[in-house]
């Protein structure tokens, strides 16, 4: 197995050779069912005897509170939001993800830099710039992309409590009606994720199927990864 690599920029004070765990990312847009599947995967892996840790966006000790406060008042500039999320990510990378990898855990992350990059681009960030901002991030062993289209997404959102302000891009000038805004915003986020899927070699999983089928596919893909070493195991 080769050691982990960054996307070009090293993390101060970190030696990749110390990281003996696995980094598995579940990506996909809002409401696609990522959290459910991270939970299924966790159970599956723990049954097989792996130690599993989890993280997700805005769960850092450092920045989660500030981001929540800023969102309540919608009081930050839009580029500042991008960087606040990057701060949150850096904190979780260094204080949750890397320690878990050092301890040999399978780190399951509910979204990673890709969602953050996609959202920033939709909000007007230059693609090259925002990718460079995140170039300190570790390249995951696998990115499992739960792909869905907007027409398939809408009924799930309605069934699960309705449209969220931010998940509908209501902070952007995309129309006053939250439904129209949701459609346009999510179409653009998914378009960006699809582009990133090609660029970063995601494993795309059709998320329009029933939950059990998706869970089985994810479980078998991760099991295969842990047996073969995946990208880092390849010659």
């Amino acid at each position: 197995m080769r050691p982990f690599e960054n996307y070009g920029v090293p993390i101060p004070g970190m030696d990749p050779a110390e990281l003996t765990g696995w980094l598995v990312v579940v990506e996909g847009t809002d409401g696609v069912g990522r959290t459910t599947h991270v939970n299924h995967l966790r159970t599956h892996l723990e049954r097989q005897g792996y130690a599993v840790a989890e993280t997700g966006l805005t769960r850092s000790d450092l920045a989660s509170r500030g981001i929540r406060r800023a969102k309540q008042g919608n009081t930050l500039g839009s580029n500042a939001y991008n960087l606040f999320y990057a701060t949150d990510f850096a904190d979780r990378l260094e204080r949750q993800i890397i320690p878990a990898l050092r301890a040999g855990f399978v780190m399951l992350t509910d979204r990673y830099v890709y969602s953050l990059i996609a959202r920033a681009i939709v909000r007007g960030a230059e693609p090259d710039w925002i990718k460079q901002v995140y170039s300190f991030s570790l390249q995951p062993d696998a990115v499992l992309y739960l792909r869905i289209t907007v027409p398939d997404l809408v009924p799930r959102i309605v069934a699960n409590g309705g449209f969220d302000y931010w998940e509908s891009g209501m902070d952007l000038p995309m129309g006053e009606d939250i439904y129209d805004s949701f459609i346009r915003y999510q179409a653009r986020v998914i378009e960006q994720l699809d582009g990133l899927a090609r660029e970063y070699d995601f494993e795309t999983i059709d998320a329009t199927r029933p939950e059990e089928g998706i869970a089985e596919e994810l479980a078998s893909r991760v099991s295969r990864l842990l047996e073969t070493g995946g990208r880092r195991g390849r010659a």
Binding site: G66, R69, T75, W129
Partner: protein, 236 residues
């Protein structure tokens, strides 16, 4: 992940206002000079906006708490300051420049370039991080020998804060000693930035009023065409 990263200084737009920066290590006297400059400019009828490092209210709450609790890794330190700066660029600096104001900034991207690199952050990464910053009309670097600056700061026997003293670098267990070592490294970084970004060097060992006269003399020609509120014309 990327091709050629755009570095700070690329893709700069022209605004009707002017942006002047003062930079230098703690104790260089730059803030005093900026305050005197502001008084002069206001007296001449120009609209002046002050922008200080680390002052965006909403981000500051997070930064202050993190600093109190020593939560910041070098990357997080770099990113939280970039977040703060970005908020000020979007909501304060650029709108003021568009409105034709003179924006005076006490520290700018160069502070981040110097400090973050001393903390071990990749120099090219941090320069790319700040690519969104507006280009200054002119940036002044107040050059001062380390011992002079340290005397100014440490003679008051201040209680140095953890990050201020660079304690996170583990250079020395004593805060004053750590501060000395930290400032020496920052000073060395500033010296490389002078050439890289064409900073105007001010001799910060000269008397305050001598420095101020020189500062005004350098700024005066850069104000031509700028609208003040009254009939007055700037003179040094």
């Amino acid at each position: 992940m990327i091709g050629t990263p755009g570095l700070y200084g690329a893709n700069q737009r022209e605004f009707p206002g002017r942006l002047f920066i003062v930079e230098g290590i703690d104790g260089s006297g730059k803030s005093t000079q900026l305050t005197l400059l502001a008084q002069w400019l206001r007296g001449q009828g120009y609209p002046v906006v002050f922008s200080e490092w680390n002052s965006s209210l909403i981000v500051k709450a997070t930064t202050s708490r993190a600093k109190r609790r020593h939560l910041l890794t070098p990357l997080a330190f770099s990113l939280i300051h970039a977040t703060d700066f970005s908020d000020r660029v979007e909501r304060e600096i650029v709108p003021s420049l568009k409105a034709g104001a003179i924006v005076l900034a006490d520290r700018y991207v160069y502070t981040a370039f110097a400090r973050d690199v001393v903390r071990g952050v990749d120099p090219r990464w941090v320069r790319s991080l700040y690519r969104f910053a507006a280009a200054p009309t002119r940036a002044f670097y107040f050059r001062v020998p380390l011992e002079v600056a340290l005397r100014r700061i440490l003679s008051g026997r201040p209680k140095l804060k953890y990050y201020e003293a660079g304690m996170d670098l583990g250079l020395h267990p004593d805060p004053s000693e750590s501060y000395r070592l930290f400032q020496a490294r920052i000073l060395a970084q500033y010296e490389t930035l002078v050439g890289e970004y064409g900073l105007s060097v001010m001799d910060a060992t000269e008397p305050v009023e001598v420095q101020q006269r020189r500062l005004r003399r350098e700024i005066l020609p850069l104000l031509s065409g700028l609208k003040g509120s009254g009939e007055t014309h700037a003179t040094v």
